[in-house]
Symmetry: C2
Subunit: 294 residues, 2 copies
Protein backbone atom coordinates (compact mmCIF):
# COMPACT_ATOMS: atom_id res chain seq x y z
CA UNK A 1 0.00 0.00 0.00
CA UNK A 2 1.16 3.52 -0.80
CA UNK A 3 1.97 5.59 2.29
CA UNK A 4 -0.53 8.29 1.30
CA UNK A 5 -3.32 5.69 1.20
CA UNK A 6 -2.15 4.28 4.54
CA UNK A 7 -2.18 7.73 6.15
CA UNK A 8 -5.60 8.48 4.68
CA UNK A 9 -7.09 5.19 5.91
CA UNK A 10 -5.71 5.59 9.41
CA UNK A 11 -6.82 9.19 9.60
CA UNK A 12 -10.40 8.15 8.91
CA UNK A 13 -10.24 5.37 11.50
CA UNK A 14 -8.85 7.84 14.04
CA UNK A 15 -11.51 10.43 13.28
CA UNK A 16 -14.25 7.85 13.66
CA UNK A 17 -12.81 6.72 16.99
CA UNK A 18 -12.63 10.34 18.15
CA UNK A 19 -16.26 10.85 17.09
CA UNK A 20 -17.20 7.80 19.12
CA UNK A 21 -15.31 9.18 22.13
CA UNK A 22 -17.19 12.48 21.79
CA UNK A 23 -20.53 10.70 22.13
CA UNK A 24 -19.60 10.24 25.80
CA UNK A 25 -20.01 13.99 26.37
CA UNK A 26 -23.70 13.82 27.20
CA UNK A 27 -24.08 16.34 30.01
CA UNK A 28 -21.21 18.55 28.79
CA UNK A 29 -22.30 22.17 28.12
CA UNK A 30 -22.93 22.47 24.36
CA UNK A 31 -20.52 25.33 23.79
CA UNK A 32 -17.71 23.44 25.52
CA UNK A 33 -18.27 20.37 23.38
CA UNK A 34 -18.48 22.55 20.26
CA UNK A 35 -15.17 24.24 21.08
CA UNK A 36 -13.45 20.90 21.73
CA UNK A 37 -14.77 19.35 18.52
CA UNK A 38 -14.06 22.48 16.47
CA UNK A 39 -10.31 21.96 16.82
CA UNK A 40 -10.34 18.17 17.22
CA UNK A 41 -11.92 17.77 13.78
CA UNK A 42 -10.15 20.60 11.99
CA UNK A 43 -8.32 18.38 9.52
CA UNK A 44 -5.06 17.83 11.39
CA UNK A 45 -2.59 15.21 10.19
CA UNK A 46 -3.23 12.95 13.23
CA UNK A 47 0.45 12.09 13.08
CA UNK A 48 0.80 11.09 16.77
CA UNK A 49 -1.94 8.42 16.83
CA UNK A 50 -0.75 7.23 13.42
CA UNK A 51 2.78 6.81 14.79
CA UNK A 52 1.43 4.80 17.73
CA UNK A 53 -0.65 2.59 15.43
CA UNK A 54 2.21 2.06 12.95
CA UNK A 55 4.66 1.18 15.73
CA UNK A 56 2.23 -1.23 17.38
CA UNK A 57 1.56 -2.90 14.02
CA UNK A 58 5.27 -2.98 13.16
CA UNK A 59 5.63 -5.19 16.24
CA UNK A 60 3.03 -7.51 14.71
CA UNK A 61 0.15 -6.59 17.03
CA UNK A 62 -3.26 -5.36 15.88
CA UNK A 63 -4.01 -1.85 17.12
CA UNK A 64 -7.81 -2.32 17.13
CA UNK A 65 -8.20 -2.55 20.92
CA UNK A 66 -5.84 0.36 21.44
CA UNK A 67 -7.41 2.91 19.12
CA UNK A 68 -9.12 4.98 21.86
CA UNK A 69 -5.85 5.10 23.82
CA UNK A 70 -3.94 6.22 20.74
CA UNK A 71 -6.61 8.84 20.05
CA UNK A 72 -5.96 10.29 23.49
CA UNK A 73 -2.68 11.52 21.95
CA UNK A 74 -4.65 13.61 19.47
CA UNK A 75 -6.85 15.02 22.23
CA UNK A 76 -3.72 16.13 24.11
CA UNK A 77 -2.15 17.54 20.94
CA UNK A 78 -5.37 19.48 20.32
CA UNK A 79 -5.38 20.94 23.83
CA UNK A 80 -1.78 22.07 23.32
CA UNK A 81 -2.67 23.85 20.06
CA UNK A 82 -5.64 25.65 21.65
CA UNK A 83 -3.58 26.90 24.59
CA UNK A 84 -0.51 27.76 22.45
CA UNK A 85 -2.66 29.94 20.20
CA UNK A 86 -4.07 32.02 23.10
CA UNK A 87 -3.47 35.80 23.08
CA UNK A 88 -1.12 35.68 26.08
CA UNK A 89 0.94 32.91 24.45
CA UNK A 90 1.50 32.84 20.66
CA UNK A 91 -1.55 35.01 19.89
CA UNK A 92 -2.40 33.21 16.65
CA UNK A 93 -5.56 33.99 14.70
CA UNK A 94 -5.32 31.16 12.19
CA UNK A 95 -4.78 27.41 12.55
CA UNK A 96 -5.23 24.81 9.80
CA UNK A 97 -6.77 27.51 7.62
CA UNK A 98 -9.49 28.37 10.14
CA UNK A 99 -9.84 31.00 12.89
CA UNK A 100 -8.31 29.72 16.13
CA UNK A 101 -10.50 28.44 18.99
CA UNK A 102 -10.40 31.64 21.09
CA UNK A 103 -11.26 33.71 17.99
CA UNK A 104 -14.47 31.72 17.57
CA UNK A 105 -15.45 30.89 21.17
CA UNK A 106 -13.65 33.54 23.23
CA UNK A 107 -10.67 33.18 25.49
CA UNK A 108 -12.42 31.70 28.56
CA UNK A 109 -14.08 28.87 26.62
CA UNK A 110 -10.82 28.19 24.71
CA UNK A 111 -8.87 27.82 27.96
CA UNK A 112 -11.50 25.48 29.38
CA UNK A 113 -11.83 23.49 26.12
CA UNK A 114 -8.08 22.84 26.31
CA UNK A 115 -8.36 21.84 29.97
CA UNK A 116 -11.25 19.51 29.16
CA UNK A 117 -9.43 17.84 26.24
CA UNK A 118 -6.34 17.22 28.36
CA UNK A 119 -8.38 15.79 31.22
CA UNK A 120 -10.65 13.71 28.98
CA UNK A 121 -7.58 12.19 27.32
CA UNK A 122 -6.64 10.67 30.67
CA UNK A 123 -10.26 9.67 31.22
CA UNK A 124 -10.23 7.78 27.92
CA UNK A 125 -6.90 6.13 28.78
CA UNK A 126 -8.35 4.75 32.04
CA UNK A 127 -12.00 4.21 31.09
CA UNK A 128 -12.97 0.53 31.29
CA UNK A 129 -15.32 0.93 28.34
CA UNK A 130 -12.31 1.48 26.07
CA UNK A 131 -9.58 -0.41 27.88
CA UNK A 132 -11.01 -3.61 29.27
CA UNK A 133 -9.03 -5.75 26.84
CA UNK A 134 -5.74 -4.12 27.83
CA UNK A 135 -3.61 -5.39 30.70
CA UNK A 136 -3.88 -2.73 33.48
CA UNK A 137 -0.08 -2.77 33.81
CA UNK A 138 0.20 -1.70 30.16
CA UNK A 139 -2.50 0.94 30.67
CA UNK A 140 -0.60 2.36 33.62
CA UNK A 141 2.66 2.42 31.65
CA UNK A 142 0.98 4.14 28.68
CA UNK A 143 -0.53 6.81 30.97
CA UNK A 144 2.86 7.42 32.55
CA UNK A 145 4.69 7.66 29.21
CA UNK A 146 2.21 10.25 27.94
CA UNK A 147 1.89 12.33 31.13
CA UNK A 148 5.66 12.44 31.57
CA UNK A 149 6.18 13.53 27.96
CA UNK A 150 3.66 16.37 28.00
CA UNK A 151 4.12 17.75 31.54
CA UNK A 152 6.54 20.12 33.27
CA UNK A 153 9.56 18.03 32.27
CA UNK A 154 8.31 17.70 28.70
CA UNK A 155 5.99 19.63 26.40
CA UNK A 156 4.81 22.31 28.85
CA UNK A 157 8.42 22.91 29.93
CA UNK A 158 9.39 23.38 26.27
CA UNK A 159 6.47 25.70 25.64
CA UNK A 160 7.42 27.84 28.64
CA UNK A 161 10.98 28.26 27.29
CA UNK A 162 9.57 29.01 23.84
CA UNK A 163 7.47 31.85 25.31
CA UNK A 164 10.26 33.10 27.60
CA UNK A 165 12.78 33.31 24.76
CA UNK A 166 10.41 34.91 22.27
CA UNK A 167 12.23 38.02 21.08
CA UNK A 168 15.40 37.15 23.01
CA UNK A 169 18.83 36.32 21.61
CA UNK A 170 18.83 32.75 22.93
CA UNK A 171 21.34 30.08 21.97
CA UNK A 172 21.64 26.70 20.31
CA UNK A 173 21.29 25.11 23.76
CA UNK A 174 18.02 26.92 24.39
CA UNK A 175 16.78 26.02 20.91
CA UNK A 176 17.67 22.40 21.56
CA UNK A 177 15.85 22.37 24.91
CA UNK A 178 12.73 23.87 23.36
CA UNK A 179 12.55 21.49 20.40
CA UNK A 180 13.43 18.36 22.39
CA UNK A 181 10.80 19.16 25.03
CA UNK A 182 8.08 20.92 23.07
CA UNK A 183 7.88 18.54 20.09
CA UNK A 184 10.41 15.73 20.51
CA UNK A 185 9.22 14.29 23.82
CA UNK A 186 5.58 13.93 22.73
CA UNK A 187 6.41 12.34 19.36
CA UNK A 188 8.77 9.93 21.08
CA UNK A 189 6.01 9.08 23.57
CA UNK A 190 3.62 8.33 20.69
CA UNK A 191 6.11 5.83 19.29
CA UNK A 192 6.90 4.45 22.75
CA UNK A 193 3.27 3.74 23.67
CA UNK A 194 2.85 1.96 20.34
CA UNK A 195 5.94 -0.07 21.20
CA UNK A 196 4.77 -0.83 24.75
CA UNK A 197 1.34 -1.87 23.46
CA UNK A 198 3.03 -3.98 20.78
CA UNK A 199 5.11 -5.81 23.39
CA UNK A 200 8.54 -4.40 22.45
CA UNK A 201 11.47 -5.68 24.50
CA UNK A 202 13.84 -3.28 26.31
CA UNK A 203 16.39 -2.99 23.48
CA UNK A 204 13.67 -2.59 20.85
CA UNK A 205 11.99 0.08 22.96
CA UNK A 206 15.29 1.94 23.16
CA UNK A 207 15.72 1.88 19.38
CA UNK A 208 12.13 2.92 18.78
CA UNK A 209 12.56 5.77 21.27
CA UNK A 210 15.51 6.96 19.24
CA UNK A 211 13.38 6.75 16.08
CA UNK A 212 10.60 8.75 17.79
CA UNK A 213 12.95 11.42 19.06
CA UNK A 214 14.60 11.84 15.65
CA UNK A 215 11.36 12.20 13.72
CA UNK A 216 10.01 14.51 16.44
CA UNK A 217 12.98 16.81 15.97
CA UNK A 218 12.81 16.42 12.18
CA UNK A 219 9.15 17.46 12.34
CA UNK A 220 10.08 20.60 14.23
CA UNK A 221 13.03 21.48 11.95
CA UNK A 222 10.65 21.13 9.02
CA UNK A 223 8.17 23.39 10.84
CA UNK A 224 10.89 26.04 11.09
CA UNK A 225 11.77 25.61 7.39
CA UNK A 226 8.10 25.85 6.39
CA UNK A 227 7.66 28.98 8.48
CA UNK A 228 10.56 30.56 6.61
CA UNK A 229 9.92 29.22 3.11
CA UNK A 230 6.49 27.56 3.00
CA UNK A 231 3.33 28.53 1.14
CA UNK A 232 0.77 30.09 3.53
CA UNK A 233 -2.14 28.67 1.50
CA UNK A 234 -0.83 25.11 1.75
CA UNK A 235 0.50 25.24 5.33
CA UNK A 236 -2.81 26.73 6.55
CA UNK A 237 -1.42 29.18 9.10
CA UNK A 238 0.28 32.54 9.13
CA UNK A 239 3.95 32.13 8.22
CA UNK A 240 7.14 34.15 8.68
CA UNK A 241 5.89 34.97 12.19
CA UNK A 242 8.57 32.99 14.01
CA UNK A 243 11.30 35.52 13.30
CA UNK A 244 11.40 36.41 17.02
CA UNK A 245 11.39 32.75 18.05
CA UNK A 246 14.22 30.33 18.69
CA UNK A 247 14.32 28.42 15.39
CA UNK A 248 16.79 26.27 13.48
CA UNK A 249 16.80 28.90 10.76
CA UNK A 250 17.84 31.60 13.22
CA UNK A 251 20.64 29.61 14.82
CA UNK A 252 21.85 27.47 11.89
CA UNK A 253 20.58 29.09 8.70
CA UNK A 254 18.42 27.43 6.06
CA UNK A 255 21.03 25.16 4.41
CA UNK A 256 22.36 23.70 7.66
CA UNK A 257 18.75 23.22 8.78
CA UNK A 258 17.99 21.20 5.64
CA UNK A 259 21.13 19.13 6.26
CA UNK A 260 20.11 18.59 9.92
CA UNK A 261 16.68 17.45 8.74
CA UNK A 262 18.24 14.91 6.36
CA UNK A 263 20.51 13.61 9.11
CA UNK A 264 17.61 13.20 11.54
CA UNK A 265 15.54 11.27 9.00
CA UNK A 266 18.54 8.99 8.23
CA UNK A 267 19.17 8.41 11.92
CA UNK A 268 15.50 7.61 12.52
CA UNK A 269 15.53 5.04 9.72
CA UNK A 270 18.79 3.50 10.95
CA UNK A 271 17.29 3.05 14.44
CA UNK A 272 14.60 0.71 13.14
CA UNK A 273 16.61 -1.56 10.84
CA UNK A 274 15.96 -4.31 13.42
CA UNK A 275 12.31 -4.33 12.32
CA UNK A 276 13.25 -5.46 8.78
CA UNK A 277 10.28 -5.55 6.37
CA UNK A 278 7.88 -4.78 9.27
CA UNK A 279 9.46 -1.33 9.57
CA UNK A 280 8.42 -0.30 6.05
CA UNK A 281 5.64 2.09 7.11
CA UNK A 282 7.68 3.69 9.91
CA UNK A 283 10.52 4.21 7.43
CA UNK A 284 8.18 5.86 4.94
CA UNK A 285 6.69 8.06 7.66
CA UNK A 286 10.19 9.30 8.51
CA UNK A 287 10.78 10.12 4.85
CA UNK A 288 7.37 11.78 4.61
CA UNK A 289 8.18 14.03 7.59
CA UNK A 290 11.40 15.05 5.83
CA UNK A 291 9.48 16.01 2.70
CA UNK A 292 6.17 17.42 3.94
CA UNK A 293 4.90 20.74 2.61
CA UNK A 294 2.18 21.41 5.22
Amino acid sequence: MELSAYLHDKKIIIENTLKDICTSFVSTPGVLRDAMEYVLFSNGKKIRPILAIATCEAKGKSSDDLLPCFCALEMIHTYSLIHDDLPSLDNDDLRRGKPTCHKVFGEAIAIMAGDALLTEAFRVLSDARYTDRINPKITKQIIFEIAHAVGAEGMVGGQVMDVLYDGKEGSKNILNYIHLHKTGAFMRAAVRIGAVAGGAKARELKNLSKYGECIGLAFQVMDDILDAEGDEEIVGKKLKKDTNKQTYIKHYGILASRYKLEQLVDEAIKSITFLGENGKILKEIAQFIGNRVS
Copy 2:
Protein backbone atom coordinates in the same frame (compact mmCIF):
# COMPACT_ATOMS: atom_id res chain seq x y z
CA MET B 1 -7.62 13.09 68.79
CA GLU B 2 -9.28 16.45 68.20
CA LEU B 3 -10.28 17.07 64.59
CA SER B 4 -8.22 20.26 64.39
CA ALA B 5 -5.09 18.31 65.41
CA TYR B 6 -5.95 15.59 62.87
CA LEU B 7 -6.37 18.13 60.07
CA HIS B 8 -3.14 19.86 61.07
CA ASP B 9 -1.14 16.59 61.13
CA LYS B 10 -2.48 15.43 57.78
CA LYS B 11 -1.88 18.81 56.20
CA ILE B 12 1.80 18.62 57.17
CA ILE B 13 2.09 15.07 55.82
CA ILE B 14 0.44 16.16 52.55
CA GLU B 15 2.69 19.20 52.20
CA ASN B 16 5.78 17.07 52.76
CA THR B 17 4.62 14.58 50.15
CA LEU B 18 3.95 17.43 47.70
CA LYS B 19 7.45 18.80 48.39
CA ASP B 20 8.87 15.37 47.66
CA ILE B 21 6.87 15.23 44.40
CA CYS B 22 8.26 18.64 43.41
CA THR B 23 11.84 17.34 43.68
CA SER B 24 11.10 15.40 40.49
CA PHE B 25 10.98 18.68 38.53
CA VAL B 26 14.70 18.72 37.73
CA SER B 27 14.79 20.01 34.16
CA THR B 28 11.59 22.09 34.51
CA PRO B 29 12.16 25.80 33.74
CA GLY B 30 12.63 27.62 37.09
CA VAL B 31 9.81 30.10 36.58
CA LEU B 32 7.34 27.31 35.78
CA ARG B 33 8.27 25.39 38.92
CA ASP B 34 8.09 28.61 40.97
CA ALA B 35 4.60 29.38 39.65
CA MET B 36 3.37 25.83 40.36
CA GLU B 37 4.82 25.81 43.89
CA TYR B 38 3.62 29.36 44.61
CA VAL B 39 -0.02 28.23 44.60
CA LEU B 40 0.55 24.60 45.66
CA PHE B 41 2.09 25.78 48.95
CA SER B 42 -0.12 28.80 49.59
CA ASN B 43 -1.69 27.45 52.77
CA GLY B 44 -4.79 25.78 51.31
CA LYS B 45 -6.89 23.49 53.49
CA LYS B 46 -5.86 20.35 51.54
CA ILE B 47 -9.40 19.11 52.10
CA ARG B 48 -9.48 16.76 49.07
CA PRO B 49 -6.41 14.67 49.95
CA ILE B 50 -7.51 14.70 53.61
CA LEU B 51 -10.90 13.31 52.58
CA ALA B 52 -9.21 10.54 50.59
CA ILE B 53 -6.90 9.68 53.51
CA ALA B 54 -9.72 9.76 56.07
CA THR B 55 -11.96 7.55 53.90
CA CYS B 56 -9.16 5.04 53.23
CA GLU B 57 -8.36 4.90 56.95
CA ALA B 58 -12.04 4.62 57.87
CA LYS B 59 -12.00 1.39 55.88
CA GLY B 60 -9.13 0.20 58.11
CA LYS B 61 -6.35 0.56 55.53
CA SER B 62 -3.19 2.61 56.03
CA SER B 63 -2.90 5.45 53.53
CA ASP B 64 0.92 5.55 53.60
CA ASP B 65 1.45 3.95 50.17
CA LEU B 66 -1.28 6.09 48.65
CA LEU B 67 -0.15 9.53 49.78
CA PRO B 68 1.33 10.63 46.42
CA CYS B 69 -1.88 9.52 44.65
CA PHE B 70 -4.02 11.45 47.12
CA CYS B 71 -1.74 14.48 46.70
CA ALA B 72 -2.49 14.42 42.98
CA LEU B 73 -5.96 15.66 44.02
CA GLU B 74 -4.37 18.78 45.48
CA MET B 75 -2.32 19.33 42.30
CA ILE B 76 -5.52 19.21 40.25
CA HIS B 77 -7.36 21.48 42.68
CA THR B 78 -4.47 23.94 42.45
CA TYR B 79 -4.56 23.92 38.62
CA SER B 80 -8.30 24.67 38.77
CA LEU B 81 -7.75 27.64 41.09
CA ILE B 82 -5.02 29.11 38.85
CA HIS B 83 -7.17 28.84 35.71
CA ASP B 84 -10.37 30.02 37.46
CA ASP B 85 -8.61 33.17 38.66
CA LEU B 86 -7.42 34.17 35.14
CA PRO B 87 -8.54 37.54 33.73
CA SER B 88 -10.77 35.96 31.08
CA LEU B 89 -12.47 33.75 33.69
CA ASP B 90 -13.12 35.08 37.23
CA ASN B 91 -10.43 37.77 37.06
CA ASP B 92 -9.41 37.47 40.70
CA ASP B 93 -6.45 39.37 42.13
CA LEU B 94 -6.35 37.72 45.54
CA ARG B 95 -6.36 34.07 46.64
CA ARG B 96 -5.63 32.81 50.15
CA GLY B 97 -4.54 36.32 51.11
CA LYS B 98 -1.89 36.51 48.36
CA PRO B 99 -1.84 37.91 44.81
CA THR B 100 -3.09 35.30 42.34
CA CYS B 101 -0.66 33.35 40.12
CA HIS B 102 -1.14 35.47 36.98
CA LYS B 103 -0.69 38.65 39.03
CA VAL B 104 2.77 37.45 40.06
CA PHE B 105 3.95 35.46 37.03
CA GLY B 106 1.86 36.86 34.17
CA GLU B 107 -0.98 35.22 32.31
CA ALA B 108 1.04 32.96 29.99
CA ILE B 109 3.01 31.34 32.81
CA ALA B 110 -0.16 31.00 34.92
CA ILE B 111 -1.95 29.15 32.11
CA MET B 112 1.03 26.83 31.62
CA ALA B 113 1.54 26.31 35.37
CA GLY B 114 -2.07 25.12 35.54
CA ASP B 115 -1.55 22.86 32.52
CA ALA B 116 1.60 21.42 34.08
CA LEU B 117 -0.04 20.75 37.47
CA LEU B 118 -2.95 18.96 35.83
CA THR B 119 -0.65 16.83 33.67
CA GLU B 120 1.82 16.10 36.46
CA ALA B 121 -1.04 14.92 38.67
CA PHE B 122 -1.67 12.12 36.17
CA ARG B 123 2.07 11.49 35.95
CA VAL B 124 2.22 11.02 39.73
CA LEU B 125 -0.83 8.73 39.65
CA SER B 126 0.88 6.43 37.12
CA ASP B 127 4.55 6.81 38.10
CA ALA B 128 6.05 3.50 39.28
CA ARG B 129 8.22 5.31 41.78
CA TYR B 130 5.10 6.26 43.77
CA THR B 131 2.71 3.48 42.89
CA ASP B 132 4.64 0.20 42.77
CA ARG B 133 2.89 -1.09 45.89
CA ILE B 134 -0.55 -0.44 44.44
CA ASN B 135 -2.40 -3.00 42.32
CA PRO B 136 -2.43 -1.58 38.74
CA LYS B 137 -6.19 -2.26 38.57
CA ILE B 138 -6.71 0.05 41.56
CA THR B 139 -4.39 2.65 40.00
CA LYS B 140 -6.41 2.56 36.79
CA GLN B 141 -9.69 2.91 38.67
CA ILE B 142 -8.34 5.85 40.71
CA ILE B 143 -7.17 7.63 37.54
CA PHE B 144 -10.57 7.11 35.94
CA GLU B 145 -12.50 8.34 38.99
CA ILE B 146 -10.45 11.53 39.10
CA ALA B 147 -10.35 12.28 35.37
CA HIS B 148 -14.07 11.67 35.01
CA ALA B 149 -14.83 13.99 37.96
CA VAL B 150 -12.74 16.92 36.77
CA GLY B 151 -13.28 16.77 32.98
CA ALA B 152 -15.96 17.94 30.55
CA GLU B 153 -18.69 15.99 32.37
CA GLY B 154 -17.49 17.22 35.74
CA MET B 155 -15.53 20.17 37.07
CA VAL B 156 -14.68 21.85 33.75
CA GLY B 157 -18.31 21.49 32.63
CA GLY B 158 -19.43 23.16 35.86
CA GLN B 159 -16.90 25.95 35.49
CA VAL B 160 -18.05 26.63 31.92
CA MET B 161 -21.66 27.02 33.11
CA ASP B 162 -20.47 29.22 35.98
CA VAL B 163 -18.76 31.54 33.49
CA LEU B 164 -21.63 31.43 30.97
CA TYR B 165 -24.24 32.36 33.59
CA ASP B 166 -22.17 35.10 35.22
CA GLY B 167 -24.45 38.15 35.21
CA LYS B 168 -27.41 36.18 33.82
CA GLU B 169 -30.74 35.48 35.52
CA GLY B 170 -30.19 31.69 35.65
CA SER B 171 -32.33 29.28 37.62
CA LYS B 172 -32.21 26.77 40.45
CA ASN B 173 -31.53 24.05 37.86
CA ILE B 174 -28.53 25.92 36.49
CA LEU B 175 -27.27 26.59 40.02
CA ASN B 176 -27.64 22.91 40.81
CA TYR B 177 -25.73 21.87 37.68
CA ILE B 178 -22.89 24.26 38.46
CA HIS B 179 -22.47 23.24 42.08
CA LEU B 180 -22.84 19.51 41.46
CA HIS B 181 -20.28 19.59 38.65
CA LYS B 182 -17.89 22.32 39.72
CA THR B 183 -17.44 21.31 43.36
CA GLY B 184 -19.53 18.24 44.12
CA ALA B 185 -18.05 15.83 41.58
CA PHE B 186 -14.45 16.42 42.61
CA MET B 187 -15.14 16.13 46.36
CA ARG B 188 -17.09 12.95 45.73
CA ALA B 189 -14.17 11.61 43.69
CA ALA B 190 -11.77 12.35 46.57
CA VAL B 191 -13.93 10.25 48.89
CA ARG B 192 -14.42 7.56 46.23
CA ILE B 193 -10.71 7.05 45.56
CA GLY B 194 -10.12 6.77 49.31
CA ALA B 195 -12.87 4.15 49.36
CA VAL B 196 -11.51 2.27 46.33
CA ALA B 197 -8.00 2.29 47.82
CA GLY B 198 -9.45 1.13 51.14
CA GLY B 199 -11.17 -1.83 49.48
CA ALA B 200 -14.78 -0.65 49.91
CA LYS B 201 -17.46 -3.00 48.56
CA ALA B 202 -20.10 -1.82 46.05
CA ARG B 203 -22.74 -0.85 48.65
CA GLU B 204 -20.18 0.89 50.85
CA LEU B 205 -18.85 2.77 47.84
CA LYS B 206 -22.37 3.95 47.04
CA ASN B 207 -22.89 5.25 50.57
CA LEU B 208 -19.51 6.93 50.65
CA SER B 209 -20.26 8.54 47.25
CA LYS B 210 -23.41 10.00 48.78
CA TYR B 211 -21.35 11.29 51.70
CA GLY B 212 -18.83 12.87 49.29
CA GLU B 213 -21.50 14.49 47.16
CA CYS B 214 -23.28 15.95 50.21
CA ILE B 215 -20.18 17.45 51.75
CA GLY B 216 -19.07 18.71 48.33
CA LEU B 217 -22.36 20.58 47.97
CA ALA B 218 -22.24 21.69 51.61
CA PHE B 219 -18.77 23.08 50.97
CA GLN B 220 -20.08 25.11 48.05
CA VAL B 221 -23.17 26.37 49.90
CA MET B 222 -20.83 27.48 52.70
CA ASP B 223 -18.65 29.21 50.08
CA ASP B 224 -21.70 31.15 48.93
CA ILE B 225 -22.62 32.04 52.51
CA LEU B 226 -19.06 33.16 53.26
CA ASP B 227 -19.01 35.29 50.13
CA ALA B 228 -22.16 37.04 51.32
CA GLU B 229 -21.43 37.24 55.05
CA GLY B 230 -17.82 36.26 55.71
CA ASP B 231 -14.87 38.28 56.96
CA GLU B 232 -12.49 39.15 54.11
CA GLU B 233 -9.47 39.05 56.44
CA ILE B 234 -10.26 35.51 57.58
CA VAL B 235 -11.47 34.08 54.27
CA GLY B 236 -8.36 35.43 52.47
CA LYS B 237 -10.03 36.51 49.23
CA LYS B 238 -12.17 39.32 47.97
CA LEU B 239 -15.79 38.76 49.05
CA LYS B 240 -19.22 40.02 47.94
CA LYS B 241 -17.98 39.59 44.38
CA ASP B 242 -20.31 36.71 43.53
CA THR B 243 -23.38 38.92 43.28
CA ASN B 244 -23.51 38.30 39.53
CA LYS B 245 -22.96 34.57 39.96
CA GLN B 246 -25.41 31.73 40.37
CA THR B 247 -25.34 31.22 44.14
CA TYR B 248 -27.53 29.62 46.78
CA ILE B 249 -27.96 33.06 48.31
CA LYS B 250 -29.31 34.46 45.04
CA HIS B 251 -31.77 31.64 44.39
CA TYR B 252 -32.74 30.62 47.94
CA GLY B 253 -31.79 33.51 50.25
CA ILE B 254 -29.51 33.27 53.25
CA LEU B 255 -31.81 31.47 55.70
CA ALA B 256 -32.83 28.72 53.30
CA SER B 257 -29.15 28.35 52.34
CA ARG B 258 -28.21 27.81 55.98
CA TYR B 259 -31.00 25.25 56.29
CA LYS B 260 -29.82 23.50 53.09
CA LEU B 261 -26.30 23.37 54.52
CA GLU B 262 -27.56 21.75 57.72
CA GLN B 263 -29.56 19.21 55.74
CA LEU B 264 -26.57 18.31 53.56
CA VAL B 265 -24.31 17.80 56.58
CA ASP B 266 -26.97 15.61 58.24
CA GLU B 267 -27.43 13.57 55.08
CA ALA B 268 -23.66 13.13 54.73
CA ILE B 269 -23.41 11.84 58.29
CA LYS B 270 -26.39 9.51 57.85
CA SER B 271 -24.75 7.98 54.75
CA ILE B 272 -21.79 6.72 56.77
CA THR B 273 -23.54 5.24 59.79
CA PHE B 274 -22.43 1.84 58.44
CA LEU B 275 -18.83 2.75 59.36
CA GLY B 276 -19.71 2.94 63.08
CA GLU B 277 -16.83 4.16 65.28
CA ASN B 278 -14.47 4.11 62.23
CA GLY B 279 -16.51 6.91 60.68
CA LYS B 280 -15.73 9.36 63.52
CA ILE B 281 -13.28 11.52 61.56
CA LEU B 282 -15.45 11.64 58.42
CA LYS B 283 -18.42 12.66 60.58
CA GLU B 284 -16.39 15.43 62.20
CA ILE B 285 -15.13 16.63 58.79
CA ALA B 286 -18.76 16.95 57.62
CA GLN B 287 -19.57 19.01 60.73
CA PHE B 288 -16.43 21.08 60.22
CA ILE B 289 -17.46 21.90 56.64
CA GLY B 290 -20.83 23.05 57.96
CA ASN B 291 -19.18 25.40 60.45
CA ARG B 292 -16.05 26.67 58.67
CA VAL B 293 -15.27 30.39 58.60
CA SER B 294 -12.59 30.39 55.87
